[in-house]
Symmetry: C2
Subunit: 348 residues, 2 copies
């Protein structure tokens, strides 16, 4: 393989192999459609010229980019990074490359970057969550773009999606704590605007409590962006209440870790004085604070299923529009409420 001045193109290969460009293209795309002899000649020519197909030209002519777009909130959060990683791996295995964009929880940015991806040319799109600007859905509809929503389930049934039932997960987690005897609940939630995951989790907690006739008072719900600092601040505020909660449900792992850190700072023992629970990916956190009870979301499977779903659409296979993935409650130690004496001490 020499190093020519300019990148070889299809016609160069054709000339060297003494065939037409059509044959070279066929030899590359459908090798079984050309005679073994010519195939070999073409392959030799390709090798000796170091020929690499020009993606844009190929995309223009074939109307296929073999590229999939993914729009996620951020990669700063390990949970989204993991999902994205799984997507990338699955698509790569199928011969697709991933075009990535983040919107940082900003709906307008999401529309903008999605448009950019479509413009750049993608065969399909993976979106995170179900709450999106109508304009975005309109774009997809207009361009007939295959897509799949992930993480949450679309209740309207209009959109293909593969995800988790966040409300049910919250229900499960809350019921567990109720069974343990907790009655004083609070929640440090993620920002619920444009985020049905955060919303569903909060709602799930509310619903589980309501079923037992317990209300989640306004001062017991704190809504903050996902960050360690938010977890700290949230917990501090909650414990400053006249009646501090015995169970603090955190919207995700980062918030939970922040909350635990703040407990350490304040000298509040976990889980003896307060149970901290959370959602999402908590291996690291739970390793360091064994008392932590969480709902685990299998992000690897999510990425795989979502990618497979989109690939199936692209190859014209029929697929269930909606696919729910099971989540897992991880109880790692006691989550029982503190004894009366401890509670009183915490209240001081």
């Amino acid at each position: 393989m020499k190093t020519p001045r300019k990148n070889a193109k299809l016609s160069d290969v054709a000339r060297l192999a003494k065939v037409s460009t059509a044959t070279v293209s066929r030899a590359l795309m459908l090798p079984h459609k050309v005679k073994p002899g010519t195939l070999a000649r073409v392959q030799d020519a390709v090798r000796s010229l170091g020929y690499v197909a020009h993606g844009a030209a190929r995309a223009l002519a074939s109307r296929r980019t073999h590229t999939i777009g993914a729009v996620v909130p951020t990669l700063d959060n390990a949970i989204f990074a993991n999902t994205t990683h799984a997507l990338q791996k699955t698509f790569d295995a199928a011969g697709y490359t991933l075009l990535l964009a983040c919107h940082e929880f900003d709906a307008a940015v999401e529309v903008r970057v999605t448009r950019a991806l479509i413009e750049r040319g993608i065969d399909g799109l993976v979106l995170l969550g179900t709450s999106h600007d109508p304009q975005l859905y309109a774009m997809l509809g207009q361009r007939q773009m295959p897509y799949v929503l992930t993480w949450a389930l679309d209740t309207s049934g209009k959109h293909p999606c593969v995800g988790f039932n966040n409300r049910a997960a919250a229900l499960q987690l809350t019921n567990h704590l109720l069974e343990q005897g907790h009655r004083e609940f609070a929640m440090i939630s993620g920002v619920t605007v444009n985020n049905e995951r955060a919303r569903d989790r909060l709602q799930g907690v509310r619903d589980a409590l309501a079923a037992r006739g317990i209300k989640l008072a306004a001062e017991r719900v704190i809504e903050k962006t996902y960050s360690l600092a938010s977890g700290r601040e949230g917990l501090r505020a909650l414990m400053a209440n006249a009646r501090p909660p015995t169970a603090v449900m955190c919207g995700n792992d980062v918030l939970a870790i922040g909350a635990i850190a703040e407990c350490n700072t304040l000298g509040i023992r976990v889980p003896q004085q307060v149970s901290i629970t959370g959602f999402d990916d908590m291996e690291i956190a739970s390793l360091l604070s064994p008392g932590l009870t969480t709902v685990h979301f299998p992000t690897l499977e999510l990425g795989q299923f979502a990618a497979a779903h989109l690939l199936a659409q692209l190859s014209g296979k029929s697929v269930a529009r909606q696919h729910e993935l099971p989540v897992e409650l991880k109880v790692r130690g006691t989550t029982a409420p503190p004894a009366r004496a401890q509670l009183r001490r915490a209240q001081r």
Copy 2:
């Protein structure tokens, strides 16, 4: 904005605006080059047709994809996810989209996915680390692909890069522990094959110790893949030695957390009986184990600088070939070696 049967193209816009396709193209690319009146007509037409440019066609004609490729080991590791996130954000702000690929620490896969990115069409490439298959560098050279290496510094001076001096970081961390009085060192390193980051860190520890006449015995060095389990196993093995170390240097944050978790399991107190230190992004870990001393690598800045470096190349600006980013030693509590009595107890 109506919803036409087929996607509008440039010629449709031209017809509606009663101008030529050339003018539409100009109105889109260099708005200041067309008369305000025509510009407005074109923009109206674009809007009313819901026109979105066809990226492949644009790329074919202009020889620019406005797409940057990034090849990272994995997104499973928060540190790489953060860097990738920073890259994505910076490129997005400059009008570039990110094509992402992972190689999972496999050199052959790296060559394969890089080739795929080039074929797909990218204007530039970001690579993580300096150790790459010669074949990969050959590809870049042949196609004159602008690129930048990140995270590490290229000692040969041949490649544009922006990164950290991993060896110096290890030197700094080790010297700190030496000053604290530690003499019994061990290291749980990442796999050093094709990974100059892991290699440089291990070497840095070795060099710092050698300067004081201390050797890192073979049984005091454990090389494992980056995972919590590795950290656990590594620590367990090290502490089972006849003479357990008082300072365990971990190749990255995940290993350090695993090591700390194992200390908890074994009932070894950190940092009273053993100091655990590490590299990389440790906010979460250090929050939960305040004694942890680490070297922090500013991944955000890394992504920004790396992206800026590549963008500068693309716009023909001159840039320093090599750029080193400072790292920061984070001492969060005592790292002093255990007293003799404690040491003896740990040895039992």
